[in-house]
Amino acid sequence: MIFVEAGTRSIRSFDAQLIFAQKLTARGFDACIDADYLPEDAGRGRLYEAANFLTDPEEHVAEAVFVLGAEEVEDLLLASLRQKQLGADVPVVATGRFKTQQSYVGAKARLAFALGREASVIDLTDTQPRSMLPSAVSPLVAETRPIVRPIGEVTDVTVVLGSMELDNPETLSCLSRMSSQGDYGLKLVVSGAQNEFITASHFNDLPRILYTDLSPLTLAKSTDILVMFGHGVAGDRMAELAVELIAAGGVVIDCTEDEVLMSSGAPALLGPKTLFALDGYLTGKILGNTSQIAEQALKSQWLRTIEISRLETAAELVAKPRRPERTTQRTLFLPTNGVGLGHAQRCAVIANALPDNISPIFAAFPSCVPIARREGMDCIPLVARTDTKDNSNANDILTYRRLSAALQEGDRLVFDGGYVFDSVNRVILEHGLSAVWIRRGLWPKGRSRHTMLHREGIFDRVIVPSEAFEELNDAYSYGDHIHYVGPVFRRVIQSAEDINHLRARLAERFGRDFKQLVVSMLGGGVASDRSAQLQAISGMLEARTDCLHLVVTWPGSKVQPAVFGWKNTRVVHTLEATKLCLAADLVISAAGYNSVHEILYHNIPSILIPQSAPYLDDQERRARALSDRELCATITETEFMKLERTVLDCLDDGGVEVFRSALKKIKLPEAGAAAAADLLIKT
């Protein structure tokens, strides 16, 4: 294991450690960072990157040690080195930009005191006398490995705004125009303050990321042209991005006020100082000539000054390109953990529709694991989000780690959910995955479209499982990558004989005969508390001796204790709710996507009580679409009297037959699971 240490402990140093550890990993080495280096205020993005490298030093034997930023050597570093009690044969290589010979001699001496032997100290100013970032802790080295560009279908342009002020109202307008044209794809790298400014403006849909949202290595993988504005280079991360991109055959345009990239000797192009001239410069001079520009840049002697192999040689390391662990493509379904199990159910249905030569696996949250396993698929268990305030995304970091371990370049990730997690975003970009987003529609009013869509670009395809009724199929984004398929839901075939057998088993199980079976599926109270409705239904059915009322929830969900007090009401935890619904005379259900489509396509008479929460789909619209066609009754959460009337009407006055008859007559679109599976295998 290679330990990456730093002379000082700070955010800047930690960034340098992370990036260098990533570079070593990309070169085939195992690198780690002592967990003590993690800054308290590391911020969200860095935590993801750090999760791959942080370790307790005693867990590993050091193969080599790198010390970055050795121009300043704190006692904490010396203590860390001394505690490691490194063997005499473990190379220790320190890099720094030493302003004086004394600072070099002093650092070398201090390292030697801690080690009990000499370290190899490399003065980067020898090879990089005019660094693009003289204060950089990072050694600013890379592997020269040009790749064919553009990487995607259009040239990707990343613009780093640097210290640019955004108060000129024309600036964002200009960027917005640039992001809307089709000659290139635009992405901004912004500071926290710039991001807030943009978010509060009319141009809040500008594609942008923060400095720490992605590592420079990952960012370079999705960038063909890098443009830098501001005064100087905006920190180690951006300097690393420029170095990495040039080494990878990309084009770097220096628009900084002090022409800092050019003056470092880097083979960058001198671009316009003003943003307003950038579009013309790109389209007129750059876009048609990127390969020639990159070719010239790769001839630059400057590339020799950034060769990472020099540091590896000093540490007696020989790069060993990582080989993929598998030769076959893996397909992994990742359903988000919504209020119910809808995402997981849908994924299971599509996974089952895949050809036999594809054996998909799942990564699922605890409530969804049984669904995947029931279908005979392997499942990587994930950890659900907790409500801890200090680190609310800790579970997602774990998800990121597990997905990273399970997937390799070229694998296929199928994500079913609304908000695209950081883990999903990072894993797709870092591993170069084929990615598909199964994105149900009917978003609630008021949901930020930008928040939902800003990561759409990382997916190769977006599959939208339609609603059964056309008026519910809103379009949220457009393009060749968007594919609409018919409703995707779980089909259950159950004969009359099966139904009779199930009802007999229920009678036996609960020790009472019944003529009417009512099933309530109003959720576990996560999104909307339906305990009052359940009590009301249980109460009105209590006196009906020929009726059995089942409160059906998925395993593990909470049920109010009061429900257990009724004689005619029983609680059933099951993943086979559809079978119970098919056996029921009446189903009282929430109006989630899966429930409604199963009710529709299986002709099940129902009363729908929509749930509502800011993060839920618009269940009321979906329910109304059915009740307007007299396929069910829709009851809102406050309509208790109507609920009672409707239940009685259904059970006593033929209401269920009216619904069943209408359901049989309605023409529904073809189910979409097969089409979705077909799209997946083409991705």
Binding site: A79, R82, Q85, Q101, Q102, V105, A109, A112, F113, G116
Partner: protein
Amino acid sequence: MFGDTQNVAPVLRRVVDELCIPVIWDSPRISADFVILHNPSFLKFQNSLNAQVIARELIVVTHENFLRPGGEEGFDVSNCLGQIDASAIALRKTLAPVSAYNRETVTNWVSRFREARHWQVLEADWFNIFSTDLCHPCDMPEDRRGRHSRPGFEKFPPVAELDMCFPKHAKSNVILGANALLDAGVHRAHWKLLPFDAISVEDFFEMIDFFVYFTAPTWQESFGRVVAEALAAGKVVLTDPKTGKTFGEAVITCHPSEVDGIISDFILHPRRYHEQVSRSQSALERYSVQNFRAHLSKVLTPERGVPA
């Protein structure tokens, strides 16, 4: 040149006051037959001496080793001597080592750097004056070990060697100046770790019978004042051969792995302990005021322009 604090060592202050010699700070011009400049490494963080020196002979006393064990420079010597060179007009420029080991580093450095060959190296050591009351050794030595030093990493050997020097079976192990060990969480139940200045040196010596002193192998004392203090306090000193070179038979030189055996032997034979302390304290005579006066009289000779 000397900074803003203008601190003067108490002993020196007393002498200067008794002789009514005025102290001139940061004089832009220093002119005398002999100018003695102590410890050139004080210039390592600056670019200029900021004073002009005019002298018949400039003697630079090299308190800090020019080279570390292994041959790496201890500080940027060229820069420091260069600043002095650029500011001094003198018929003779002399480097005055403070000990045998210090001399070795100075002569090796001078032979390595061509541009420094005009510097003469004084033949006799410009040793530290060590004048203090001598304490008697204890009657019956026990396995009470200790060390004290400034807290820098260079003053401490690797942890594995510290473990050998201060083992569990010793009656006590006291480490004064253990700031770095405390900060790094290097604890042993059988170690008493005290930060620098936590107790007086006198109190520290009350707690031990054996002074066990090893440093980082990449650093070396140029003189070893702590060793001399321990000898004066009536303790047996165990140290590495290079540090011990300054003190000859006054100290026991060994490797950390040999410490246990040597201490056991002294405890079994208290007479040897007393003989060793007695021998050590006699050796301290070498660093007396009288000897230094004799040394100085050999430097300030008529051949060097001092009237007889």
